[in-house]
Symmetry: C2
Subunit: 340 residues, 2 copies
């Protein structure tokens, strides 16, 4: 096992001081051409690489970004990460990813650990549990310590920081409007219970679209799924005997369960009924029929979040700069689950 080469070892080997080695490697003018060449050659030969930990300690910055997401086994989040990574790497940062598993405690612990020097700033989508609890002390603490924080997707309004969101309400409106444009009149909604902010916002978009088109609101056409694991049965029950001509689902899974349920009822999608979903993932593309969706542009979101964070990190007097909220535009992806 080869020992890792350090400045000290090089210095001893070449019989100069540590400072000289350091300076030579950084091309300081203080060092004569001769010694510099000699030291650089030696370092290259034995493949010297500076120790990042020592650098972090010295510079008081780690050049890494901490990302905390509710779960990693989730296509949308991975696209966001992908976007973060691209921008971060471009600018010489790297990325630590931790998952909270939607647990408040794990979110807190992860943030504390990463905040103790490992990370210069955070990009975060809060855990469901955190949203329910309404306890944000870990976020405010981090901010007070001067660590920039960027929230994305599931953000918390009360917290003062940069944010990247999509306009869930508008996106939902677009979806419903699309259905209306296709001639649908009796449009159902499959959403989640309201403490999940996206569920709430998308529901709102649905309502707005209805009222803007002078369509009557019918509460019995709205389902708020509580338990994800039970959602398939819940949806199937909900859809029976409602004679809708369209359904807007706040995610792919609900949409697919809806299509299954319709099929079982002997209805054809999209001939008899149109289905549109929020969230554009692998499933939407490959399903038969492929799903018409509202695309959230995860990569773009991650990229913007990373840009915001790095901007704060590299700006010394960022203290005074106001916080930004970037809104990512959603897009309608037309496929085969809605009629033409």
């Amino acid at each position: 096992m080869k020992k890792r080469l350090t400045l000290k070892l090089i210095a001893k080997e070449l019989d100069v001081s540590i400072s000289t080695v350091s300076k030579a490697l950084r091309d300081s003018a203080e060092i004569s051409e001769d010694t510099r060449q000699k030291i650089k050659a030696f370092a290259k030969l034995y493949n010297y690489k500076p120790n990042n930990i020592a650098l972090s300690l010295k510079n008081r910055k780690s050049k890494t970004i901490g990302v905390i997401i509710p779960e990693i086994v989730h296509h949308y989040f991975t696209t966001v990460i992908s976007g973060i990574e691209q921008v971060a790497n471009e600018k010489g940062y790297h990325v630590i990813i931790c998952t909270s598993n939607n647990s408040f405690d794990k979110e807190v612990i992860n943030m504390e650990i990463l905040a103790n020097g490992s990370t210069d700033g955070f990009i975060l989508s809060v855990a469901k549990e955190t949203q329910q609890k309404g306890d944000y002390h870990h976020l405010t603490e981090v901010i007070e310590q001067g660590m920039p924080l960027v929230m994305f997707d599931r953000v918390i309004e009360e917290i003062n920081c940069d944010k990247v969101i999509i306009d869930d309400t508008l996106g939902a409106k677009k979806a419903v409007q699309h259905l209306v444009n296709l001639g649908c009149k009796k449009i159902g909604l499959i959403s989640t219970i309201d403490y999940v902010s996206v569920g709430k916002l998308r529901t709102q978009g649905y309502l707005e679209a209805l009222s803007e088109n002078n369509l009557e609101l019918n509460e019995s056409l709205i389902l708020k799924v509580d338990d994800f694991d039970q959602s398939e049965e819940e949806i199937s029950r909900f859809l029976s005997d409602k004679s809708m001509d369209a359904v807007f689902a706040v995610n792919e899974h609900f949409a697919i369960y809806a299509i299954k349920a319709f099929k079982e009822q002997g209805l054809d999608v999209p001939k008899d009924v149109s289905v549109i979903a929020f969230t554009d993932g692998e499933l939407s593309k490959r399903f038969i029929p492929s799903l018409t969706t509202i695309n959230q542009h995860g990569e773009e979101m991650g990229a913007q979040a990373a840009r915001l964070l790095i901007k704060k990190l590299e700006n010394d007097d960022s203290e005074d700069e106001p916080f930004e909220t970037i809104i990512i535009e959603t897009g309608l992806v037309e496929r085969n689950s809605t009629k033409r």
Copy 2:
């Protein structure tokens, strides 16, 4: 912006030495009950947390595991990560994830960066490009420096380290055997070109299963997809006029394209033809018909990899310990794309 509290600040504030503070906080017997209480109270009040970077530098270990995967937007890898995280967190480690995007250069760079102190060891699935190139210097270097390395999924035989794999050959055999048991005689294979090791191994399993069942090998029933982006058309072309009664695809996507192609030919899956896939993901579960698959148990794989790595990390004379290769058992998940 509150300054982060350090031992030095506490020491100054309480008018004792740094050493005293450190010892008090670590419950050293050297410190009198009185002072200890005082210091601990102060630290707690102002929420002191030791700086991880300084600890890493001091202890020469970071208590973090570096994970490098080809791509994160890939369900299977996220399940592996999930498994790694669980075990790692249990044992007090955290996890840095980097993606190579299947690029050799990015893999090398990421390893070098993480190896410079950020990480105590690696869990890695190599990039496609690395497999093609056959250049493994970055791996051997890391190993020579005494950093434990565990490879999973896409492993490289020549490299001497712990490994966690699934028995691709056996898994493929299981799949084909299942088809044979269902009475299928003319079984097609949709695989990838051979430098992707899993493609090769699964092809081998297919061949073995055929010969064990005394089924004749028909080269025209084997497709080796080269370009992922073109795979849909390639598969559709391949499947026309072959009159197979079953297909084994080495991943979900190929299986789904196959099903689509069959549908377009007016064939019903599973009535007219059975389809079975390697890799059990979201798609398999939700697709209609849902896919019969060979499950790779990603979480289990990640968990085992993490256990192996941590074992090496915590064992001082691990140098002498032989390397292990753990084989994760694949499982057959029977769903609706194969007849009963």
